[in-house]
Symmetry: C2
Subunit: 197 residues, 2 copies
C-alpha cells in the first residue's frame, strides 16, 4: 500500500517503473480501479487534505518520491512545475472521461478489448516483433483477472470468458495467463469498437 483512501498524504511521487493501481471501494466491498499509473506518471493529489483513493503497487514498482511536506509550496514557487502538473492532470481527466464512456456504454467484449489495447499502449512490450508480421505485439499483463475485472466493472468470470472468446476469434493469443500476443492491432481496435488513435 502506498496511499490510503481518506488518509492524510504521506507522499507524492513519479513512477519510474512498474504499475500502480488506484482504487475506490464502496462500504460493502464493491471495488473499482479508477486508474493505472505507468512509468512517467505522477502519483498524488495536490491541494487536498486527504487522498481520494487508495494507491497500491500492482507490480514491482520504482518511485521517485517527493516529501509531502513542502510539496505544494514547491509547486507554487515554481510555476513551471505547477504548469506541467496541470497539463498532466488535464490528460488524466481526458482519459477518465474516455473510460466513463467504456463503463457506461460498452459491452463486456469491447471493454476487455479496450483494456488490452490500453495496456498494450502503455506497458513496455516484451520485444520479439516477428518479422512475418510487423503489426504483431507481445506483452505481459501487469494485472490479474480479478484486477482487470475491477478496472472494467465486470466480474472475474466475465473477463475470463471474454478473453477466451477473443482467443477463439483469433484476435489475441494467450501464451500463459499473463502473456499476450496481439497479431493485429487493427483487429483488436475493431473488437474494442475504437477508431485508430
Amino acid at each position: 500500500m502506498i496511499l490510503g483512501e481518506g488518509e492524510a498524504h504521506t507522499l507524492f511521487a513519479n513512477i519510474v517503473s512498474g504499475v500502480v493501481k488506484l482504487t475506490k471501494t464502496l462500504e460493502d466491498g464493491r471495488q473499482h480501479i479508477i486508474g493505472l499509473l505507468f512509468a512517467s506518471d505522477f502519483l498524488g493529489r495536490a491541494f487536498r487534505k486527504d487522498n481520494p483513493y487508495f494507491a497500491e503497487a500492482a507490480t514491482e514498482v520504482e518511485l521517485c518520491v517527493f516529501p509531502a511536506a513542502g510539496f505544494e509550496k514547491l509547486l507554487t514557487e515554481h510555476s513551471g512545475l505547477e504548469h506541467r502538473l496541470f497539463q498532466y492532470t488535464l490528460t488524466e481527466l481526458d482519459a477518465c472521461q474516455e473510460w466513463m464512456l467504456l463503463l457506461a456504454r460498452k459491452k463486456a467484449e469491447e471493454r476487455v478489448a479496450s483494456f488490452l489495447l490500453m495496456i498494450a499502449k502503455r506497458v513496455p512490450n516484451t520485444g520479439c516483433i516477428h518479422s512475418a508480421n510487423s503489426e504483431e505485439i507481445r506483452f505481459q499483463l501487469p494485472l490479474s483477472r480479478s484486477e482487470i475485472s475491477d478496472c472494467l466493472g465486470l466480474t472475474i468470470e466475465t473477463v475470463s470468458r471474454q478473453m477466451t472468446r477473443l482467443k477463439t476469434k483469433g484476435v489475441i493469443e494467450l501464451i500463459n495467463y499473463r502473456e499476450i500476443v496481439i497479431p493485429s492491432v487493427r483487429a483488436l481496435q475493431a473488437a474494442a469498437y475504437e477508431s485508430a488513435s
Copy 2:
C-alpha cells in the same frame, strides 16, 4: 450546441446560470454524458487543439465567454488564473473518478438515487422548505429522462422504472416529470449507497 467534439476551440466560458451537458458518442450512436456544468463551473479544455467532448445547453444558459484566441496566453501570463483553473480541474477529476465507481459498480436504483442527490446539491432549490420537516428539499430536474439515462449508463425505461420505485418507497415525490421533492435527504443517501458528504 456550444462546442463540437473533435472540432477546434471556439470559446472558453464560465457558466453564469443554467446547465450545460458534455457528451461523448460512439460511432454507432451509443452516447454518454460525461459531465454536467452548473453555475460557476468552467467550460473548455485548455492546451489542446480539439475539444474532447460535445458541449450543449441543457437549459437556458448564461455564459461569461472568453475569446478562444489568446486565452491560453492569458493563463500563462496570469499564473494566479492558471492556478485556479488547475484547482478546478482537480476537483473535476475527483468527481469524474467518483462517477466511474457509480458506473462500474452501482445498481440502477443506486445510480438514480445518486444522480438525484448530485442534482439536489448543485441545482438552485425551488424554495419552500416546509416548516414541518427542515430536511425537505424541492427542486427542478434540469434534464429529461433520456438525458438522465445518458448520465447513468442506463436506458430511459430503466430510469423511469427506478424513479417510480423510489416514489413507491417514499424516498422521493414527483410533483410532475421535472419537479421533485425529497422528504429526507438521509433516506435518499441510503438509497444511493453513499455516506454523508
